[in-house]
């Protein structure tokens, strides 16, 4: 697979205007639990434009995790359409989704999810390995990403030699390294103390200021308030879509 998938995913101009990065239209996700069917999402529609800083908020069970999985191309909707950076991704195969995840999305997880046996540098290189970037370029770009998150002096350290905040910054560097369309962060401060959490949020502010589109999934008001727009999800629907005025 790899690069030969790209032409098959030709841009769908009808689907979205160029400045729109994410467009969902009537997204449904239904889980078949045997006797009953559970609707995790019931017709979610919204748009996110390039350079936005959006928080998706909702209590547990609201469907925000399901929505995040769909946005992150880890899953496909039961019904409805999803365009990411002009590509219709709602009906792709496993391998095509893998390609999109690699190119268009930078994941940041609550539990960092770094490979414990690899150095910070190697962790950041990983997405580039999966798209076949030559070794020299890979290293240069990974080093650059690590410097962006101010870990230029910790490149050869392994995760267990780094603090929680530093680990999350390695994870953010890994998310950045492929220059994705969006950075998708799932409770990125959930495992950090308040001070370190603030540092990480400051880093997101900075990344957004330099043009990165950020989608933050959280249930914490304080964290969501750092974003410039909050999409509230409740019972599988968009309950409120507000600008924070930041």
């Amino acid at each position: 697979m790899g690069s030969q998938v790209a032409p098959a995913l030709g841009r769908d101009v009808e689907g979205a205007a160029p400045s729109v990065i994410i467009k969902t239209e009537d997204l449904w996700k239904t889980y078949d639990m045997g006797a009953i069917q559970v609707n995790a999402l019931c017709g979610v529609s919204f748009q996110i434009e390039r350079g936005e800083y959006v928080a998706i908020m909702g209590p547990s069970g609201s469907g925000k995790s399901t929505l995040m999985n769909l946005i992150g191309c880890l899953d496909t909707p039961t019904r409805g359409e999803y365009w990411l950076n002009g590509r219709r991704v709602s009906e792709l195969t496993d391998d095509e989704l893998a390609y999109i995840r690699n190119k268009e999305i930078g994941f940041v997880f609550q539990t960092f999810n770094l490979l414990s046996r690899a150095t910070a540098l190697h962790n950041v290189e990983l997405p580039l390995i999966y798209n076949g970037t030559p070794a020299a370029e890979r290293r240069a770009r990974a080093e650059e990403a690590l410097r962006t998150v101010e870990l230029g002096d910790r490149m050869e350290h392994k995760p267990n030699e780094l603090s929680g905040g530093q680990r999350q910054r390695v994870a953010i560097a890994r998310a950045l390294v492929n220059r994705p369309s969006i950075i998708l962060a799932d409770e990125p401060t959930g495992n950090l103390d308040t001070a370190t959490g603030d540092e990480i949020m400051a880093l997101f502010d900075r990344l957004n200021a330099s043009g990165n589109t950020i989608v933050l999934v959280t249930h914490e008001h304080d964290i969501a308030a750092r974003a410039r727009r909050i999409i509230h999800i409740r019972d599988g629907k968009v309950a409120r879509d507000e600008k924070t005025g930041r």
Partner: protein, 416 residues
């Protein structure tokens, strides 16, 4: 699929070796089965290659243009003789002489006779005696035909034979047993109740594996033997073909003997002809079967090892479910994950194979050093051993690897 393989071979090899480093003891236990299996293959192959070499050397030591003729097939016998075989009459001295007369491609013929039933008479010199040895009455041409070398003294001649003189030529082993500290030439040895003067000694021959009798031989002239043992009828004929005429000589010997022994046109030969190459071939066929059986047995070890590998790969994949989830989230294709674990399994068993080869070399060296059996590790067994080991990893790692590649990234990421 192959793209993914080429793309990540270095990355995956690094990962696999790293896993091996991290779980040294676990990995060692896992590959023990493969190690033992490979060691067996190498050790068995080396012993049989060694035996084969020694048999070939010993057989060729008689000369590569020599035909061995007896009333039964010379060589290795398996099973009982048929009724027809049991009723065969002995070959005669005249048969031997007739071959020399009538076969244009036969350069020379020797006839050997011996005590057919039981062991030879006790061989004595002063206080020492030898019980187990070959006592042969041979035509003087025998030394040349079977490629004996003279060590000291002289060989007996036609004159000795015609006059039925009581002279003997003895093998190297007899010399060292009866005459450890003196010159045997001119000494009188007794065989049973008869006395023979030692006129010559033979050089050491190459021995068949397990046969200590090659150099433990006493040869006396054919007609001297007949004088003392007139009732011994069996003869062993050795014919030497002219250089490069072995096949032709064989055909001539066959037709001359069929005529002399009145074999019916449709019946098979009432005698057997063999040669060094035929003996080697016969031996190789015999050990081929043994090698096959051994390999089947050792492959059971490899199978058990393979199941162990599959088991540990499943454990490894469960342990690293989250890692698989992360890799998929950041863009690993199914084939990437498959190759990662497949290469890990192959590295594991490949390492087992390399260790097994080294241990096998050690075993072969020990066998040779302790002089138990001849042994030499053949190159093919190294390649076969390694390929089989890696193949085990490929075969038994495939299902776990595919299982890993099919993990749902969402489930894998949430795995605790």
């Amino acid at each position: 699929m192959m793209n993914a393989f080429r793309r990540h071979i270095r990355e995956n090899l690094w990962l696999a070796l790293d896993t091996l480093r991290t779980h040294k003891f676990r990995s060692f236990l896992t590959i023990l089965g493969v190690l033992i299996g490979t060691t067996t293959v190498i050790a068995v192959a080396s012993i049989f290659a060694g035996l084969d070499q020694e048999v070939a050397d010993a057989a060729r030591d008689f000369g590569t243009r020599t035909l061995f003729i007896f009333k039964w097939d010379p060589g290795i016998h398996v099973g009982r003789l048929t009724r027809e075989e049991r009723l065969r009459t002995p070959l005669t001295y005249e048969d031997g002489m007739g071959l020399k007369e009538d076969c244009p491609d036969v350069e020379d013929v020797a006839v050997e006779t011996f005590i057919w039933w039981g062991s030879p008479p006790v061989l004595k010199y002063r206080g020492s005696q030898v019980l187990h040895y070959n006592f042969v009455g041979a035509t003087p041409s025998d030394f040349r035909v079977v490629n004996d070398s003279l060590s000291d003294g002289r060989l007996f001649t036609d004159v000795d034979d015609i006059h039925k003189r009581d002279v003997a030529v003895i093998g190297a082993d007899i010399v060292s047993r009866l005459f450890p500290n003196e010159d045997p030439i001119g000494k009188q040895i007794t065989v049973g109740s008869n006395t023979f003067k030692v006129v010559g000694t033979l050089g050491k021959r190459k021995a068949f594996p397990g046969d200590s009798g090659t150099d433990r031989v006493v040869k006396i002239p054919y007609h001297t033997f007949k004088k003392f043992y007139p009732n011994e009828k069996e003869n062993f004929i050795v014919a030497m073909a002219f250089e490069g005429r072995l096949d032709e000589a064989r055909d001539e010997v066959e037709s001359v003997l069929r005529r002399r022994r009145h074999d019916k046109p449709n019946a098979s030969d009432s005698f057997g002809i063999s040669s060094a190459e035929a003996l080697i071939h016969q031996f190789e066929q015999l050990i081929g079967t043994v090698v096959l059986v051994t390999l089947v047995i050792s492959s059971i070890g490899l199978l058990v090892g393979g199941i162990g590998v599959m088991n540990i790969m499943l454990v490894s994949i469960t342990e690293r479910t989250r890692e698989i989830g992360v890799r998929k989230a950041i863009g690993a294709h199914r084939s990437d994950i498959t190759w990662q674990f497949l290469l890990e399994a192959m590295t594991l068993t490949g390492a087992g194979g390399i260790l097994g080869i080294l241990v096998g070399f050690g075993a072969s060296f020990l066998i040779r050093a302790l002089d138990v059996l001849p042994s030499a590790v053949p190159l093919w067994s190294v390649f076969v051993g390694f390929a089989v080991a890696v193949g085990i990893g490929l075969f038994f790692g495939l299902w776990p690897a595919i299982k890993a590649s099919r993990l749902d990234p969402i489930v894998a990421l949430r795995y605790e």
